[in-house]
């Protein structure tokens, strides 16, 4: 049984990030995750393609986006960017609605069935406006990871930077 909890460390937690559009956010997170060896290069390309065809913006009280894609992932992870100024993600429901998003959570999921609990916890937590707002106001990466851990529990594994991660 491999390790299926989502890996995260401070390199994958961007605060007060400035980006001109959603592509720039995805590319920056992708670059960081790639550097850890969690994904193959194709992951980023496929993710951008997917966002084009099947966008991942969620129209909750305070909208956020969850870019993710199947395959090309070696180790499950969560990475995120809290943006200084919002960027546009299209709504997942296909309404064509443009959502102004300040929190982008990029996921690498290798075992959806095994990870259903953490995915549910994640969505249930952040569709509550106050939780997302709290994250948006945080200024210290370490604190944000602690906060995420408190919301997601065992499904999230907070690593120290540079710590070697066992492959799934």
């Amino acid at each position: 049984m491999g390790n299926i909890s989502l890996q995260i460390d401070e390199d994958l937690a961007l605060l007060n990030f400035e980006a001109k559009d959603s592509t720039e956010v995805i590319k920056e997170l992708g670059k960081r995750v790639l550097a850890k060896g969690y994904i193959e290069e194709e992951f980023i390309e496929k993710l951008l393609e997917r966002e084009e065809n099947f966008p991942t913006g969620l129209e909750t009280a305070c909208p956020f986006a969850i870019p993710h894609v199947g395959g090309f992932c070696n180790t499950s992870f969560l990475s995120f960017a809290v943006l200084k100024e919002p960027v546009i993600f299209n709504a997942m429901d296909g309404s064509g609605k443009e959502l102004s998003v300040r929190c982008v959570f990029m996921f690498g999921i290798t075992d959806p069935q095994g990870q259903v609990e953490v995915l549910k916890k994640f969505i249930f937590a952040f569709r509550e406006e106050e939780n997302l707002k709290k994250l948006q106001e945080m200024t210290d990466a370490k604190e944000t990871l602690k906060y995420l851990k408190s919301l997601l529990g065992d499904g999230l594994e907070v690593k120290k930077i540079g710590e070697v991660v066992e492959k799934n």
């Binding site: 099947f54 894609v69 997942m92 429901d93 959806p112």
Partner: protein, 100 residues
């Protein structure tokens, strides 16, 4: 046994969490069903299902080409209107069950 399919863009994230909730809703309602995950790109021709629940872009069609009914389950993701959706889903599945 009612055959449900849950589909989203990638067939991973929202499909998994919506499937899980659909199973719970059906269990509470005492309805026996199977829940199969799929990608939105795969559902157009699905003929061996009784109902397809989508959480993503599928236009405004209420049936696929094989005449399988489609409903939008986005509320189980966003939480907006999720209780009402659950009631409607149970109602719909009961109708399907009775028609079998």
């Amino acid at each position: 046994m009612v055959r449900l399919v849950v589909a989203c863009g990638g067939g991973i994230f929202t499909t998994t969490m919506v499937s899980d909730q659909v199973k719970d809703i059906m269990k509470k309602a005492g309805i026996q069903c199977t829940v199969t995950p799929a990608k939105l790109t795969e559902i157009a021709g699905i003929a061996d299902a009784d109902l397809i629940i989508v959480t993503g872009k599928f236009g405004t069609k209420t049936n696929n080409v094989a005449n399988t009914p489609i409903i939008i389950g986005m509320s189980l993701v966003t939480g907006v209107g999720s209780e009402k959706f659950a009631e409607e889903l149970v109602q719909k599945v009961k109708e399907i069950e009775e028609a079998k």
